[in-house]
Symmetry: C2
Subunit: 394 residues, 2 copies
């Protein structure tokens, strides 16, 4: 939520749902810029992320926003009240700045709903075992919403600035279409592969609890946003083989040729990567002609410096050659229908060959195939795969 006008607009959406006869609970994030402002003051005074006092300061942003939203709903002629995390309570494990939700008592929410009062819950926060406020970190308000939906047995609409999940980025392929329904797993893979619609934590929580999420646009009037339903995989009656094509720029590839045989060297390599806070994404291990091991993996470009420094400092690589390559991008094809379908890989390789695009690395999961390509070929790869899997067709 940005300005007071944005709050009023969001309130109109919630009011529309309530007038349509639905019981509505609202979970809010802080007003746009407010979290940064509070964090700025905290940092100015020596506070950092992950400190209990910083958390108490940040939580104030959602507290005020909950009050504002309740006021806006009252202006719409509805009954509403702000509900703060400690009033329910929303229990968390208490890790400052990165808490996990451990339980929600729905009694107060249910009492509100029974009386026709819309509870407006301050997102992003909970009360730890020590009775202090702690925030949930990135995507915290979406997570709060999913958890509250689970606690009261509701479905969860998440309003964002886009009208749902698309088969790929419309800025890359202008025939990208909105996906009406998708499974939690596909949503998680799309997010992990670069789609920026939803934070994965809320989807993981919803998946574990069987909560239906709907991604909608807060910029469209109530009813005008088609949105995307994110549902348990069993609820997908008719499945497309592929649901979407995601991508991520600024990838780098590291390769180690001639590692000693056995698991010790790769284990040391990935321990070193974790120690250097370099997030390893795709991994390919192969056997070299001479009996040694070749290891290739990708990291984000910004992690490359730390990653190579950590590798060079590593003993026991037995003279392996270390190389790296940048200017790479990752394209991923995601779909529950990929499970056990050999022709998906065939299509992928055929498309890349037809476009003259070299796959610098390929990695697969049950419902995803990712391929690393030259950066300059990224958009062509996205469009070609989007087309090849029929995603441009309704």
């Amino acid at each position: 939520m940005g300005s007071p006008e944005a709050i009023a607009r969001s309130a109109k959406i919630a009011a529309g749902e309530a007038r349509a006869g639905r019981q509505v609970a609202v979970v809010v994030s802080a007003m746009s810029g407010e979290t940064d402002r509070l964090l700025g003051v905290a940092q100015n005074l020596g506070g950092g992320l992950g400190e209990p006092e910083t958390d108490a300061a940040l939580a104030a942003g959602e507290q005020a926003a909950a009050a504002f939203m309740a006021l806006a709903l009252k202006s719409e002629g509805l009954k509403a009240r702000a509900v703060l995390a400690w009033q329910l309570p929303i229990q968390v494990d208490g890790a400052p700045g990165a808490s996990k939700i451990t339980g929600i008592d729905p009694a107060l929410l249910e009492a509100c709903l029974a009386e026709g009062v819309i509870p407006v819950v301050a997102g992003y926060q909970g009360v730890g075992p020590d009775g202090r406020l702690a925030t949930l970190g990135r995507g915290g308000t979406d997570l709060s919403a999913a958890a509250i939906a689970a606690a009261i047995g509701a479905e969860c609409d998440i309003y964002t600035d886009v009208d749902g999940v698309f088969t790929t980025d419309p800025r890359v392929a202008d025939d990208a279409r909105r996906v009406a329904r998708i499974s939690h797993e596909e949503m998680l893979e799309l997010a992990a592969q670069g789609a920026k619609v939803l934070q994965t934590r809320s989807v993981e929580y919803a998946k574990a609890k069987g909560v239906t999420l709907r991604v909608k646009s807060s910029f469209l009037p109530a009813g005008a946003s088609g949105g995307t339903e994110v549902v348990p995989v069993g609820a997908l009656a008719e499945r497309r083989v592929v649901s979407g094509v995601a991508y991520a720029r600024d990838q780098a590839r590291l390769s180690l040729h001639g590692l000693p045989d056995g698991a010790a060297a790769p284990a040391a390599v990935f321990a070193a990567m974790a120690g250097a806070d370099a997030h390893v994404d795709m991994i390919v291990q192969s056997r070299a002609r001479d009996g040694g091991v070749n290891l290739e993996f990708s990291v984000e470009r910004r992690d490359l410096g730390r990653a190579t420094a950590a590798l060079e400092a590593l003993d026991g690589l037995d003279g392996a050659r270390i190389a790296h390559e940048t200017d790479l991008a990752k394209v991923s094809v995601v779909g529950t229908g990929l499970r056990g379908r050999a022709d998906v890989a065939r299509t992928l390789y055929a498309v890349l060959q037809g476009e003259g695009i070299a796959a610098r690395m390929v990695a697969t999961s049950e419902i995803k195939i990712s391929v690393l390509v030259d950066s300059e070929l990224l958009e062509r790869a996205v469009r070609a795969l989007h087309n090849a899997y029929g995603l441009h067709q309704a």
Copy 2:
């Protein structure tokens, strides 16, 4: 507290107290401008003062400030934590925007102090019987501080922008001196008569609980602020007859001549004033030569329009003549030593006569004499009385 710099400055003061070996608890107000900003957004969304949601929004200001102050104290190398009203709790009667404190559980504060942790409490708020946040209204943070001091058996330093209470306004009399000690009652009278140092609610609370207040400047380094101690009257070993001269501008006088005899007409008049939300200050009732009643009273200038309209709408005044006069100011002499001292009134009248100042109305209480004078003569009256009662002398 204004900027982050002001918070850091206040933290240095508290840190100085702690390093001097004292156990310190801190109560904070919102950062300067923050309450207005939050109220502005609330009003923009249809919220008003005295609504529970507006209170929840406003309370966020002190919550963030408590966190900021705790961070600033940590930066000073001390142990500190933010303590929110609901964590103690601070119980209030729950009236939105105007709550009274009904109880404070000091256990968490005492636990902090025992561990050498400075608790930083969010002022201005408490938790009502319904479990919701409610704010205390004007002067709320000072009131929170006095109440917390009472709960943990502490003395209460209130930091403001002036270095204590002065014998009169230094802008009017340049020989005004800081008062080192004063009784709660005198402080209350000075505040009621126009001195703007402390909100009366904190002084009333402190008086009832026997809490010593100290008014100090947050702009002076720790130790450099002399301040004023506000103590129970019994703790004043040596009393001056008069402690200070206060004043208030923009007063108006209403007079009703020839009211019917008896208490009915005055009762109706003051009921009408209360109904018109006109605050009646000084009252003089006298018997007219013809056996009727003359009634004169003062109100603030801004209440005059409502007051006269209410009088003119009143039945049963039996043709009494209603008149009013503006351009008046009130000068008040306050001191516990006034009790039973006839020479105080003598001095007052002698001074006014010597300065050629007509007293338009005089009212007395046990420890105060107030006189209404022409606005243009106000400063001369303040200086002359300040001098006549020896307040210019150390």
